[in-house]
């Protein structure tokens, strides 16, 4: 249900963007992406979810300020259900108590597109456009389990930063695809709760590496 809402929002965003005619003025494009996040807190996520990685879906808007420079806003969502655990002498005992983790980053990025020098007579866009950048973000983390009370649920928002790099491939005049990789760092997101496996493993960073495929609409 939540994914459907997110997909709808992304579709609306894509439909509402204003196609730009050229790169010498401000342009706006919408994008949607799907990928895989490998969390830095590897042991903790693996203990609860069975794997340190999981699918992530997102979307956002990218604004081209110049031909090379862009800024973007991206929201994404990771949501997986596993089980609470008990760890004894490095052995993880999976408990009959489901546990759902949701991570919702909102990232503001600025980047540079490596277009190179394009001869004026060439009208075809370059075959591949690498880009790189970085930014800040707010990472909403929530955790709830089958029989938790409101006090036992965790809902926090933590600030972090990220770097990104990728390569964009044009498909149509108004559509492109991209492979995007970004490393996020969200220090001190997990505290020292006695019932925290992250605390046990001394893993406090909510960040990770996300590799995603992206569809970009707009010119």
């Amino acid at each position: 249900m939540t994914r459907a809402v997110l997909a709808g929002a992304v579709a609306f965003l894509l439909a509402s963007v204003v196609p730009c005619q050229a790169q010498d003025r401000i342009s706006m494009r919408g994008f949607a992406d799907a990928g895989l996040t490998i969390f830095t807190a590897t042991q903790s996520f693996k203990a609860i979810l069975g794997s340190p990685a999981g699918p992530v879906f997102g979307g956002g808007v990218e604004v081209g300020l110049t031909r090379n420079v862009f800024v973007s806003v991206r929201a994404s969502r990771f949501r997986q259900t596993g089980n609470r655990v008990f760890v004894f002498q490095n052995q993880v005992f999976t408990l009959n108590e489901s546990d759902t983790i949701t991570v919702t980053p909102l990232q503001l990025s600025a980047g540079y597109r490596f277009l190179g020098r394009r001869p004026a007579r060439l009208t075809r866009p370059p075959r591949f456009t690498p880009y790189a950048g970085g930014g800040v973000g707010w990472y909403r983390f929530s955790e709830t389990s089958a029989h938790s009370t409101a006090d036992e649920d965790e809902k926090t928002t933590n600030a972090g930063y990220h770097v990104l790099a990728g390569v964009e491939i044009p498909i149509r005049n108004w559509m492109a695809a991209a492979v995007d990789g970004r490393w996020s760092f969200v220090p001190n997101a997990f505290g020292d709760s006695a019932s925290s496996v992250a605390s046990l493993y001394d893993e406090h960073n909510l960040g990770g590496f996300t590799l995603s495929g992206r569809i970009i609409v707009g010119r």
Binding site: I48, F86, F88, E97, D99, A198
Partner: protein, 513 residues
């Protein structure tokens, strides 16, 4: 495999010592004439009863032996593997041993010595031999509860440890978990025992009196209505009567079993910790009526050790030992409990009730800290404070509700269904009012003691095992990690790690909280 091994040992011992008697080969000592009786009668809550005097136990009363803390005429010995029969015989000769027995469910031998010999001295002599792993007297074990003062009427013990919310997380475990109750037996089935009851002498009253013979009487038994259910009981075994009918002739074991697994949400009576588990009644403690009726065995260290082996070998996941004693250490019990935990069974052991009697070290509780997967349990009262009787020491690892009727009145004890003691303790009012007992009339009794706190931990362990923590050592760690610290900050000698917190342990660890 075990039988073959026993047979081999038996043959060797026969050659070495001469006469060998395996306890399993002894004849049946009693006969039940019927398996059907009327259902048990429930006489209701006994919260308005006048205070009862302490109920006597054979280990305290010493009806049929010398008044010492051990049996005379025999000791328990374990030889090192590979010891030659000739060497064993030489060692036996050194203490004047006559015969040696290889009991079932035991990796030790019972060596018979002269009745007048000092068993502790004989055991010490043998223990010094290089081929002897251990030797000890056959010390008597007794239940760990302190009977009644006046009280109030409510089951406060479960709210104290937040069980209502813990049951949300794990509603009473499952029938795949088996909890062995090593105790005075359990009221687990209906039966009628026909027995010629002889006269006996009272050693515990103000004066020595003789109770008359009752002749041949039919003694009725019934399953406890709030405990028994379809497929509830598994592999019953009686090491006091050496048969498979561990019927409770006391009420202690039935009360303990109730705290572990009393049927819950059945519209009857009270609740239990892990109400879906199966109960394995293993009788290792003799009561007054066992003694009066002439049971062939008493509740000594070696009998308890055999009970531990039996329970583990027959699939018990959790063992409840609301029993113990002070005095000399018991390598027998240490080894038995180690055997249990190393074979996947968690063991809950009463920490003892002797705080006001000099607070001596309690056995086998004192072994618990050195055995991962075994826990010694102290008792709290309704006020969450250590109960006045609860033994203290470095061996206390956890605390659980055991009741304190000194500060809490009658209902400050832990209530469970067991026999109506008025129909069991017919001997307490003297010979004139003495008569045959009835074990088919039940009531809800408030009792106090670490006997009552221990089954909370055993039931808790059953919940944890069903929840997914399958290793006894991890079960102990989960209990200790989430215990509510009481008394001085950190681990202390009154509460150990603190009061058990089942809900927190059952929830375990989340990613962040």
């Amino acid at each position: 495999m075990f039988l073959l091994k026993s047979a081999g040992v038996l043959t060797v011992l026969t050659l070495a010592v001469g006469i060998v008697t395996a306890q399993d080969s002894t004849p049946r000592y009693r006969t039940f004439i019927s398996d059907t009786t009327l259902p048990g009668v429930d006489t209701g809550m006994r919260d308005k009863d006048a205070p009862r005097p302490p109920r006597p136990y054979p280990a305290d009363v010493i009806m049929r032996s010398s008044g010492e803390a051990y049996l005379r005429g025999s000791i328990a010995v374990k030889f090192r593997p590979g010891t030659a029969p000739v060497a064993e015989r030489q060692m036996m000769d050194r203490i004047g041993a006559t015969t040696m027995e290889a009991p079932s469910y035991a990796d030790f031998q019972i060596v018979n010595i002269d009745e007048n010999a000092d068993p502790e001295a004989a055991a010490a002599t043998l223990a010094r031999q290089p081929d002897v792993e251990f030797a000890q007297a056959r010390y008597k074990i007794h239940p760990m509860f302190v009977p009644n003062d006046p009280l109030y009427s409510q089951q406060w013990n479960f709210p104290q440890i937040d069980m209502e919310h813990a049951w949300d997380v794990n509603p009473g475990a499952a029938s795949s978990i088996v909890v062995a109750v090593l105790d005075s037996g359990v009221a687990y089935r209906n039966a009628v025992l026909r027995r010629d009851v002889p006269s006996w002498r009272d050693f515990f009253g103000p004066s020595l009196v003789t109770y008359p013979a009752l002749g041949v009487v039919d003694i009725p038994f019934a399953a406890a209505p709030d405990l028994a259910g379809p497929n509830r009981f598994v592999a019953p075994r009686d090491f006091i009567w050496n048969d498979t009918d561990p019927l409770d002739l006391d009420g202690h074991g039935t009360h303990v079993a109730g705290t572990i697994g009393q049927l819950t949400n059945n519209g009857i009576g009270v609740a239990g910790m892990a109400f879906n588990v199966r109960i394995m009644p293993v009788k290792v403690i003799d009561s007054m009526w066992d003694d009066i009726l002439g049971s062939p065995f008493e509740g000594t260290d070696d009998v308890v050790a055999r009970g531990v082996h039996y329970a583990v070998d027959n699939g018990a996941n959790v063992l409840n030992m609301s029993i113990g004693r002070s005095g000399a250490p018991s390598p027998l019990l240490q080894e038995a409990i180690t055997y249990a935990t190393s074979h996947g069974a968690f063991v809950a052991i009463a920490a003892g009730n002797d705080f006001e009697r000099g607070n001596p070290t309690q056995w086998p509780a004192a072994y618990a800290p050195s055995i991962q997967g075994a826990v010694a349990v102290g008792a709290t009262g309704r006020d969450r404070q250590r109960a006045y009787y609860s033994s203290t020491g470095p061996f206390v690892e956890l605390a659980a509700p055991g009741g304190n009727q000194r500060t809490g009145g009658t209902t400050g004890g832990v209530v469970q269904q067991t026999y109506d003691f008025a129909f069991v303790d017919t001997f307490v009012n003297g010979p004139a009012r003495y008569g045959p007992p009835r074990f088919d009339i039940f009531s809800y009794q408030f009792l106090q003691g670490t006997s009552m706190s221990t089954p909370h931990v055993a039931g808790f362990a059953a919940l944890l095992m069903q929840q997914g923590i399958t290793s006894p050592a991890a079960v102990e760690a989960a209990m200790e990690q989430f215990a509510t610290d009481l008394g001085p900050t950190g681990v202390d000698q009154q509460y150990g790690y603190g009061l058990i917190n089942p809900r927190a342990s059952l929830r375990g660890l989340g990613l962040a909280k």
